[in-house]
Symmetry: C2
Subunit: 231 residues, 2 copies
């Protein structure tokens, strides 16, 4: 499997899909066509979202098609050299992928070597379930189970700050709640600016910040760049 | 219907269930027994949660029973003078209420005048759906539909701050996403320290901060204390 899973889409200056460029070039090498899934977009129309992504990735010289214009998921996935799953609302993304019949074709293709790039919601939907998303459940996704092509849970946009005086749960507390109900799971807290590369059967943590690893019964572990340690 | 719906449980100093005391006294007047639902508690055991609530509400001189010890929901609800639904994880709360058969008995009792107090998750679960919660979906609630005894969606712990540099969605953006998919809905953004009182067929907004009203196609409206304007 080959995957590039980004925590987020913008660099600290707000520029769209400009970081992790060498990882993008690596995973897109030899690809001529790509299929983009805009379904997480909710306040932005899906054609506008497609145009934004085409412009941001122009240097990769890909012919990018929008999945919202495709009626035959299995065929569309087979015809694309690269799958791109964009961020937005994770519940909306999973809802649309499920009801439009994309989950099985994507899962099959990625497990058979089709490269996959996700960012934010597109990263979370690659994991076993969307149970560690930060998003608001604006629509019922028909079950939390997701693609499961990446074996660990991911919390994207990871940080542990709270606005001053705020009494809601911190991100660590929320992940701790998840681990109470799922004591065998592993959650990666992927800060903004970081990403995961899956290649040659291995998982590499990349980016400027520590990535946090959460498991039941142990303190959170800060991991630097490099190969993810085996469980 | 008589309801007291608090945004949160602690005052700015961290003291538990001490604010809105006159509203508590008002709704608990004449009540001798209460039924407490601890199901939103996840990192805290339910017996510990029950003990915490009993201690916090000692001045009300209520005999408070824990719903996790009751096998017959309809009977337990009928025997209680007051229903108390505590905060924690909203998905866990709805999951347990649904699978243990509490939703219909609570709904029936509240619609027939049984007083209901909720805080945080206990407030959100009183609304039509939990689709405007801030919580992490740590378990599938079996559908987002909730008690629906309060007619508007509520976002508890409402604020619109983001940690510096954070690129995830703000609360307003999340609510805007919800309204794209549910254009006929109304969402109340209830800041910490505020609460809602429902009595005599009317809904009163209370507490020191503005409560925000969100509807599709209009700018958010800051509402002061007093009667909620009719739709």
């Amino acid at each position: 499997m080959r995957m590039l899973l980004l925590s987020n889409s913008r660099d600290p200056s707000g520029n769209y899909l400009v970081h992790a460029r060498s990882a993008w070039s690596e995973i897109a090498r030899g690809c001529r066509t790509a299929l983009f899934f805009p379904f997480a977009g909710t306040t932005m129309g899906w054609d506008d979202y497609l145009a934004l992504v085409r412009e941001a990735l122009a240097a990769l010289q890909l012919d990018i098609r929008g999945a919202h214009h495709c009626d035959a998921p299995a065929t569309a996935v087979a015809q694309a050299d690269l799958l791109l799953v964009g961020g937005g609302n994770t519940f909306r993304l999973l809802h649309e992928l499920r009801r439009r019949g994309w989950l099985a074709p994507i899962r099959h293709a990625v497990c058979n070597g089709k490269p996959y790039v996700g960012w934010s919601a597109g990263t979370v939907v690659a994991t076993p379930s969307i149970a560690t998303t930060n998003d608001m459940p604006i629509i019922d996704p028909g079950g939390l189970e997701a693609l499961g092509v990446f074996p660990l849970q991911v919390n994207a946009h990871y940080h542990d700050a709270l606005p001053p005086g705020h009494q809601g749960e911190s991100r660590r507390q929320r992940i701790a709640e998840y681990l109470v109900l799922h004591p065998g799971a592993t959650v990666l807290g992927l800060p903004e600016g970081n990403w995961i590369e899956v290649r040659d059967g291995q998982c590499h943590l990349c980016g400027p910040h520590p990535t946090w690893l959460f498991r039941s019964g142990i303190d959170p572990v800060a991991l630097g760049q490099g190969l993810l340690p085996a469980a």
